[in-house]
Symmetry: C2
Subunit: 288 residues, 2 copies
């Protein structure tokens, strides 16, 4: 069976994102850290799912730091963080005296709690999934705030869905494999890739005459939609690793004779000719 490593524990939002991509037909493995997901490839798992960015907190540094040296992006999925109120089957709102969840989720549902459960005590847990799991050992006056995947995972009932105060809380995830050759499950849509991630090593030169990131980006001659900068593993303030996400047009990409992959390949070659150290570390389809 196809094996997918996710940032754990199972039942967190990364697991839900992986579920949205692969459904129930794969085996999920949870890892304690994002680095652990990268390290699981390819020996322990065929693919991994890691958070890439959140609409409030920005890019996920640990994911980019791992992409400096490992992993190939094969897909993406965006999830609206939807906190749910879960209980053991049969428990009603008026029974609830304690609400368990991760500190952050409790904070994000303050409005709901004030209105619907003003006298319930709040109990912090190490993750939202841990709160759901804890319901199994607790008396029936407890509820958990967590992702909806916990309902099926632990046999719980969803009392409310989307109880967070702010509605605009999206997280985007990358599907990664150890390299571009790993075969993905056959039931995934096989449409022509229209996105790519490239990694460019750039130095700051004392004068503007040396080749730098501005020259490399100009050499691409393709549209890019995200740029992220991390220190190079060398730890210097004049050498950086840039991650550039390229975008083609998903509507026309399939009809072109000159494929997206080959156009990305030529763009990378132009960067190399301009003096850049560059590598393609992602190619994937994107539907609108």
């Amino acid at each position: 069976m196809f094996k997918v490593a996710v940032l754990g524990p199972l039942g967190t939002y990364t697991h839900e994102a992986a579920h949205k991509l692969f459904g129930p037909g794969v085996e999920y493995y949870d890892r304690d850290t994002i680095e652990g997901v990268f390290q699981a490839l390819p020996a322990i798992a065929d693919a991994g799912v890691v958070p890439q960015e959140n609409s409030i907190f920005g890019n996920v540094i640990e994911t980019y730091d791992n992409l400096r040296e490992a992993g190939f992006v094969r897909g993406e999925v965006t999830l609206e963080v939807m906190h749910c109120l879960l209980v053991r089957p049969g428990v009603k709102l008026q029974d609830i005296q304690k609400v368990l969840s991760h500190e952050q989720a409790l904070g994000q549902c303050r409005g709901f709690l004030r209105t619907h459960l003003p006298s319930a005590s709040l109990v912090k847990t190490s993750s939202t999934a841990a709160a759901a799991r804890a319901l199994l050992d607790n008396s029936s006056n407890c509820a958990a705030i967590c992702s909806r995947v916990c309902a099926s995972l632990f046999g719980l009932t969803i009392l409310y869905e989307g109880i967070q105060d702010e509605t605009a809380n999206f997280t985007r995830f990358y599907l990664i494999t150890s390299d571009n050759k790993v075969a993905l499950p056959t039931w995934l849509p096989t449409i022509e890739p229209s996105r790519a991630l490239i990694r460019i090593l750039a130095e700051i030169h004392p004068s503007s005459t040396g080749p730098g990131i501005s020259k490399f980006l100009a050499a691409l001659q393709l549209d890019f939609i995200r740029i992220d900068r991390r220190p190079s593993p060398k730890s210097s303030l004049s050498q950086y690793v840039y991650f550039v996400e390229l975008q083609g047009d998903p509507n026309t990409e399939a009809q072109r004779v000159d494929t997206w992959s080959s156009r990305v390949g030529r763009a990378v070659q132009r960067v190399e000719e301009a003096g850049g150290v560059v590598e393609i570390i992602g190619l994937w389809p994107h539907r609108q």
Copy 2:
């Protein structure tokens, strides 16, 4: 007297960076957070010093998030993080039984401690400066690991300097004021600016035809050396704030009739004509 707000407490590396810029002739105010430094301008302080990036940990998110809405960069200074072993005057290496410092600094000096103070116990403090201050109340068998500015600040003696394991640990700081009009102390070098920071709001369009960050960067027609991306305050996964640091050539900038400021102004105008929402939020001189 000119007032400078720094990320506190006094005696930390940000204070040392500010000292490197302004010397002893200004008043230093410490603030608990980077946001506090921004908020101190201009009512409480004339200028502020905040960390911008570190060669190991990358850019300082809190500084960039504040720059989304406030502050104007007027200068920069880079500091090599040099941990020192400080003691009360007269205390010798063989007297030391306890070493106090922030957890991170203790970790970064593991090699030195193992070699020179193998039997000393390590005591964690809330900051490196707090360790230095604590020496004043402690018996004479203690030492602190902190920045060298703590020696003059608390009347302590430097026993060793540069005791960290890794040598490549640099932090770069921005000197900020509330806007470009605040007059800096007259003793600072008044050379022609050759760097600039601009802030561009960019959206991801579903197809590559819309104006996006790649088009805006191309419209600049000036060299840039750093790009940083943060979520827009709107919290959406399709709108971002980019910070682009532009670089002129400090050796020729002074001789040009067409000044750096006016060239940056025209570059920004070109981005506006391409449909970008853009602002100059920094202009400063840079010596090599």
